[in-house]
């Protein structure tokens, strides 16, 4: 997977020579777009959580992005513009007033958010931008509007659609959706601004690749429509998944072993995600021949609207509650069935989290935290350390190599707040907890009960990575915690399941 630069919102400020401040009024293609009525600038104050010291947050910092007015007195922007925002203000083009805004819906997986302004006067004279009827084609001319670095007022850049392809959405770090690549300049601050084709919205500018030139990405119309349809019921659910890993069937010997006919294409299921929709319905070794009556070729593609796309793209267009019709070959027999796409919860989806207060639990100055993407991201290159590398492995292989069967969550010893009760315990840092005082630890919420049951005044903590165990004297640890909380300025002994400890 290509490495994409993180949000284009917060990068360093520098004047870029290809920056464009066009003679806006004379632009014919945009004659119908009234910037003042439709385009907004978003000012945010962001405060990220500190996953290494989860009882406190990092320093707040300002940011800004773009957005535009859509139907029902709402604004569309990127999720990453308003994620972890403590305070949001919106300013209309050409109007000096700033209005406090709130997030109505946020979809981190598709990097879109809908905002509104409670003050009704904000919407006087506004005009929602219409969504396009269909995606533009390659080489169609588009313009990007927004508030990128280099100035205060609105900026317009022009280019063509360069590519339509699946791309990793870096905001969540794990989701890949269709993205529209344009060669119109898209820079930090453009995030959330509209990309227009014939005066209608066909994309939302959202990310770029560091070091690449004339290459910006916009969230294309189908993803925007999916999001807006999803929130119609008053909540955002996201994208359903089949939860399959497949291998293409181009190899003739593999095809014969699967009893595939010459005329059939298909992909063979090599793994089924234990937490997603296909579990229990499909089996490893099944060959997926067709999806919603579109035949799947031996390389996993289907012909859809005259274009060759990956079969997964059909699932992309579905909402939770819908079904998908599958035609499979199992043990040489063809079968047709309909698979309902339900909302599943996968505790091991290592996706960047936002607006979530991190959980922790402290005993004897040892800080236990769940392993999650944010912790990994903050650890960064230190994951190359042999004492931490296993966490990188778990984040990618926990379900493939079967660790999920023993645990619902990986709980790790993330930090040691030095005190005489834990002097010799540094060697256990970053190991994941298997059991405490004989009780298996399947998730963070098991910790209080396990630590309530020391035997002979000793807490015995066992880990998944070593046969060695950590021993704490229970009463001494409890007394130490009061001192540790005072010295290290920690407001509570834990934050678990939405509850802060004393």
């Amino acid at each position: 997977m290509k490495k994409l630069s993180k949000s284009i919102l917060h990068s360093a400020f520098s004047i870029l020579p290809f920056f464009l401040l066009g003679p806006l009024a004379s632009d014919k293609a945009l004659a119908a777009v009234d910037f003042q009525a439709s385009i907004v600038k978003i000012y945010v104050t962001i405060q990220r959580e500190d996953y290494k010291m989860p009882w406190q947050a990092e320093a707040p910092h300002p940011g800004n992005g773009s957005g535009f007015i859509i139907q029902k007195r709402r604004m569309l922007t990127n999720a990453h513009v308003v994620s972890d925002a403590r305070f949001i203000e919106i300013q209309r083009e050409g109007d000096p007033r700033r209005y406090q805004a709130q997030v109505l819906f946020i979809g981190h997986d598709c990097d879109l958010a809908v905002l509104t302004v409670p003050d009704p006067s904000f919407f006087e004279g506004t005009k929602p931008l219409p969504l396009g009827a269909s995606l533009p084609k390659l080489n169609d001319e588009v313009v990007a509007l927004g508030y990128p670095i280099g100035g205060e007022r609105i900026s317009l850049t022009r280019g063509v659609v360069s590519r339509l392809d699946y791309t990793l959405y870096t905001h969540s770090g794990v989701d890949a959706h269709l993205a529209m690549q344009v060669d119109a300049a898209i820079n930090p601050g453009n995030s959330g601004g509209p990309v227009l084709y014939q005066n209608t919205v066909v994309g939302v500018a959202f990310q770029g690749i560091a070091g690449a030139q004339s290459l910006g990405y916009a969230i294309p119309l189908p993803v925007i429509q999916h999001f807006l349809k999803d929130i119609e019921d008053g909540s955002y659910d996201g994208y359903p998944e089949l939860g399959l890993t497949t291998l293409d069937t181009r190899n003739p010997a593999l095809r014969r072993s699967l009893s595939l006919a010459e005329t059939d294409g298909g992909v063979v299921v090599t793994r089924i995600d234990p937490f997603e929709n296909a579990i229990g319905k499909l089996a490893e070794g099944d060959v997926l021949l067709a999806i919603d009556d579109f035949p799947i070729a031996d390389d996993g593609t289907i012909v859809f609207n005259g274009q060759t796309v990956e079969f997964n793209e059909l699932i992309e267009r579905k909402q939770y509650g819908e079904s998908v019709r599958l035609k499979i070959l199992r043990h040489g027999e063809k079968k047709n069935f309909s698979l309902p796409l339900l909302k599943c919860s996968d505790p091991y989806l290592y996706r960047h989290e936002y607006n979530i207060r991190p959980e922790y639990f402290i005993c004897g100055g040892l800080v236990f935290t769940p392993l999650n993407m944010n912790w990994l991201a903050q650890t960064g290159k230190e994951l190359a350390d042999p004492a931490r590398q296993h966490l990188l492995y778990y984040s990618q292989y926990v379900k493939i190599d079967g660790f999920h069967t023993n645990q619902n969550q990986l709980v790790l010893l993330g930090e040691r707040l030095a005190h005489r009760v834990n002097t010799y315990d540094s060697k256990f840092l970053y190991k994941t907890v298997a059991e405490i005082n004989g009780l298996p630890i399947r998730q963070m919420s098991d910790l209080p009960r396990a630590f309530a049951a020391p035997s002979n005044n000793l807490h015995v903590i066992r880990f998944n990575e070593t046969a060695d165990c950590l021993v704490l004297e229970a009463r001494e640890a409890q007394a130490a915690d009061r001192e540790i909380r005072r010295k290290y300025n920690i407001p509570g002994a834990y934050y678990l399941s939405g509850e802060a400890g004393p």
Partner: protein, 499 residues
């Protein structure tokens, strides 16, 4: 370490001379130089050719490595192992002479990093003079270091033993010196006896790590009594037992406040695996009391780690008598000692750089995971490679409780018609071949023998086997061997020969 493998640039010569003068001014001059250094210290020059760790049928370009060696008892030449590793020609050069004489390698031990050579020519051999080994050595001993410079003459430096280190392989001294030491194998003397050979030199700290004469002497004796027995090992993974809470939990304080170390794990297939278990506390080893850091008082070398009682004072095949505390009960156990070879580890380091066994039939490169394979991907290998393989390398004892197990990987696929659809696969773990479970590459070869060839491969995490067309296989193998210029699509080590 590498600095010893390259010829010293000219500028360094002057630098060394200055240091030498400085040394004689500051440190007391050491008398009793070995009287016949000219006849007892030689330069060892080896031409070596290493293997390509990723494409094991390929050789790297030959290179020349140099070290110093010392003539020891029986007019044999003692030097370090890594200079003669993968050698194609070994030559020695005597002091004040440009003449190079061919030498044979009698034995080389990569765990100890020692090698024993013998000049091929009997006449040349007769002119050499042996140096005796020093029997003892302690912290604060004064030593002399003799290095041979580019002109084949000696430079002398003084040093002081600042630390005795017992490593699982042998006894080492750390020697502080003002002499700049460029070559490994540079001899260190106490009086006219050999105290050891320099393994490496830290320019910043101005100190050498020296392999002791005690370890060298033991090595020479074993090398002259074939088959070579190597160093004894228990196969023990232990830790100091300092934590008072942990000592309480294990009841260790009953045996004395500062006694005993903790068994964390044992190496599968080792002597310790049968005799000891995690959470045992080792109180005594062969009659010596161990403190909580694992040190004991050695009569010859002072306070050193108890690993010397295994590698230094024992031979493979012997048994160590151990007193342990297990679940608050004092027990005695016999721990059989044997040589633990790197290649017996689940993920061997292959520090030797030996040619890896492989199978490349059907363009699928199957091999065992080794440290040198991982390192061959460059400085950022930990982050660049499949994290599962890196994890197996960092945590090797966690995966298998059986001796003889290795991790067989599908390293990569050489694209060909026969493996279409599989080209992208790399660094996946092979769990079965032709439906037969696989725990090492020898089992792969056995499966191929039994089934008449490679038909299907199962990979960890894949519910579907990779299938290959057995009828097409002979033609595909000829094509792949020719296209990718692979002289042989299989390499299996000869297991009848230990070397």
């Amino acid at each position: 370490m590498k600095r010893f493998l390259i010829t010293r640039p000219f500028g360094a010569y002057h630098y060394a001379v200055i240091l030498f003068l400085f040394t004689t001014l500051v440190l007391p001059a050491v008398e009793n130089l070995p009287p016949e250094a000219d006849a007892s210290i030689v330069e060892v020059i080896a031409t070596c050719q290493d293997f390509d760790a990723q494409l094991p049928w390929r050789n790297k370009r030959p290179l020349v490595r140099a070290s110093l060696g010392v003539v020891v008892e029986g007019r044999q030449i003692m030097t370090i192992e890594n200079v003669v590793r993968n050698q194609t020609l070994v030559e020695i050069r005597r002091a004040k002479s440009g003449v190079k004489l061919e030498a044979g390698v009698l034995e080389a031990d990569e765990q100890l990093n020692a090698a024993l050579l013998e000049p091929a020519d009997e006449n040349a051999r007769r002119q050499l003079k042996s140096v005796p080994f020093a029997e003892k050595g302690k912290r604060d001993d004064l030593v002399t270091i003799l290095k041979m410079d580019e002109s084949g003459q000696f430079q002398r430096g003084a040093g002081r033993v600042v630390e005795t280190i017992s490593s699982p392989q042998g006894l080492l001294f750390k020697v502080l010196t003002d002499l700049s030491v460029e070559k490994a194998g540079t001899p260190v003397f106490t009086g006219d006896k050999l105290a050891g050979l320099v393994l490496n030199y830290d320019k910043g700290a101005q100190s050498c790590l020296v392999l002791s004469a005690a370890s060298l002497k033991k090595f020479q004796a074993a090398a002259n009594a074939p088959p070579y027995a190597g160093s004894a090992a228990a196969g023990l993974i232990w830790e100091p037992l300092l934590d008072p809470a942990k000592r309480k939990y294990l009841g260790a304080d009953a045996a004395g406040r500062n006694a005993g170390v903790l068994v964390v794990n044992t190496v599968p297939g080792s002597g310790a695996a049968g005799a000891l278990q995690p959470e045992d506390v080792i109180l005594e080893w062969d009659g010596y009391q161990l403190d909580e850091l694992g040190f004991y008082a050695d009569p010859d070398f002072g306070r050193i780690l108890f690993s010397y009682l295994i590698a230094g004072r024992r031979r493979p095949g012997e048994k160590a008598a151990v007193t342990i505390l297990r679940q608050h009960e004092k027990l005695t156990r016999e721990v059989p000692l044997k040589r633990l070879m790197d290649r017996e580890r689940i993920v061997p380091e292959n520090t030797l750089g030996a040619q890896a066994e492989y199978l490349a039939e059907g363009g699928l490169i199957l091999r065992e995971l080794t440290g040198d394979y991982l390192f061959s991907f460059g400085g950022d290998w930990v982050m660049q490679l499949n994290p599962r393989l890196v994890y197996y390398y960092f945590n090797p004892w966690e995966f298998s409780r059986k001796a003889g197990e290795h991790i067989v990987i599908l390293a990569r696929v050489l694209p060909d018609q026969i493996n279409i659809g599989y080209h992208e696969l790399r660094d996946e773990i092979v769990t079965a071949v032709n439906g037969r479970p696989i725990h090492n590459l020898a089992e792969v070869f056995a499966a191929l023998e039994q089934d008449g060839g490679l038909k299907r491969i199962s990979l960890k995490g894949y519910g579907v086997d990779l299938v290959l067309d057995e009828n097409e296989m002979p033609a595909a193998n000829r094509r792949i061997a020719a296209n990718y210029r692979i002289p042989s699509l299989r390499y299996q080590r000869d297991r009848s020969n230990k070397k």
